[in-house]
Amino acid sequence: MLSVLRTIWEVFLHAFRKRVTIQFPEEKPRLPPRYRGRIILSRDPDGGERCVACYLCAVACPVDCIALQATEDSTGRRYPEFFRINFSRCIFCGFCEEACPTYAIQLIPDFYMSEYKRQNLVYEKEDLLISGPGKYEGYNYWKVAGVKIGGKDKGEAEREAPPVDLQSLLP
């Protein structure tokens, strides 16, 4: 019985505590750098699109909100023809970022995405692409991948040995 009275009193004392609410539009919350918010597509340090249109993010996405179409430029470099994220479906789980082999897709600390029309929440590639490398400064997928594209032959990637000549492998 006494503990009940004490509970009532202590809850009453909460009336004089500091409020924990952050009054959002006037007062901005501090978001940690790895906060999972709006999704962006980043670029290489030298400005090329990082995304290689491998569809891994679209497959990983639990709500199927990523749609893209792969294509190739004349040098053999793969890139998405279109890349569409429906943010009215996205649950900001970050699986796409984890699945991405090239650090192209990234979630950033920004959630101010209210719209009056649902259609406006569908972001196209122009809306998603940013001009910098995002969270991973020096990374350049095409420089470390052992794939041949225009201007870079097999064996010329960083930390890649030249391909073995099969003819010379004979015993």
């Binding site: 009940v4 509970t7 009532i8 202590e10 809850v11 009453f12 909460h14 009336a15 505590r17 500091k18 409020r19 924990v20 609410t21 009054q23």
Partner: protein, 316 residues
């Protein structure tokens, strides 16, 4: 002239009671937030007061769905019963000298009778919904209200003995020298606990217990029919607070300020206390609730009546 005045009082009481009941939605959310280190609704209008209007518009425009498997007539009737019975009880509450709809000689009995009728609303709602959770909620409500009603009435007998009348106006007048909360402190505690149980407020909200019964007896209700249960609940809080004020805290009596202001101050104090209880206390188990009612509350009430009666006889 007299008839017009009576009419004005009737409408005044109706309008004020319903307005306060609607405003309580806002007040409760703000107060709960206050005790949980939050702000509560503070965006719509000054202090978020127009939240009430927004909520009203919302609830009036919501789909008013009647479950196809429900017993239609009863299903629709049930929410009305609770509002009607509680509003009828307001007829006997003396707000200030002269401001009372019907100053019955047996006002107290009328109030007790009406609050007993209120249980039909909940039971019928639970039964007509044809849903096992609703039915469980309705049965719990019936059991809870029956057992708490027993000592609700008895806990007031001390007051009646002291005042020598069942008329609420006479009871208030009898407190000119001393509020009944002093000689009847036990009665006050018992009545308050019974009152909370009667209005099915937390911590005694077992009939709706969201965590076990979804929403209990009003699980199948939506739109304004659901709103009626809500209005009924808030009206119930106002009613019980008014009754506590009238019976134990001298009603409109108080220095300087006019009677109606004193009445409202006291009523709002108790309403805030009810909300504080909701913020602070967890819900007991159902068997705990029942054994409390029958094994602790009832004997205490009977002892209270006995001792009060004996003392009044001895000193009269």
């Amino acid at each position: 002239m007299n008839g017009l005045y009576q009419l004005a009082v009737v409408f005044g009481v109706l309008v004020v009671a319903l307005t306060i009941a609607a405003g309580l939605i806002w007040l409760e959310r703000r107060l709960l937030a206050l005790w949980q280190d939050r702000y509560g609704p503070n965006r719509v209008g000054p202090f978020g007061l127009f939240q009430v209007l927004a909520d009203m518009i919302k609830i009036f425009t919501k789909e008013d769905w009647t479950a196809p498997f429900a017993d239609k007539a009863t299903f629709i009737l049930a929410p009305a019963i609770i509002v009607v019975t509680v509003l009828l009880s307001f007829a006997v509450v003396p707000f200030a000298p002269g401001i009372v709809v019907a100053d019955l000689d047996i006002g107290l009995l009328f109030f007790l009778g009406m609050s007993s009728l209120g249980v039909y609303s909940v039971v019928l709602a639970g039964w007509s919904s044809d849903n096992k959770y609703s039915l469980l909620g309705g049965m719990r409500a019936a059991a809870q209200m029956l057992s708490y009603e027993v000592f609700m009435g008895l806990s007031l007998m001390g007051v009646v003995v002291l005042a020598g009348s069942f008329s609420l106006t006479a009871i208030v007048e009898a407190q000119r020298n001393l509020w009944f909360v002093v000689p009847q402190f036990l009665g006050f505690l018992l009545f308050m606990i019974a009152g909370i149980a009667e209005t099915r407020r937390l911590p005694f909200d077992l009939p709706e217990a969201e965590s076990e019964l979804i929403a209990g007896y009003h699980a199948e209700y939506s739109g304004m029919k659901f709103g009626m249960f809500f209005v009924g609940e808030y009206l119930g809080i106002i009613l019980i607070s008014s009754m506590i004020t009238v019976l134990f805290f001298g009603g409109w009596l108080g220095p300087v300020l006019p009677g109606i202001v004193w009445f409202l101050i006291k009523v709002f104090f108790f309403i805030a206390f009810f909300i504080l209880l909701r913020a602070a206390l967890p819900r007991p188990r159902f068997d705990q609730l029942m054994s409390w009612g029958w094994k602790v509350m009832l004997p205490l009430t009977l002892a209270n009546v006995l001792v009060t009666g004996a003392l009044v006889l001895a000193f009269a």
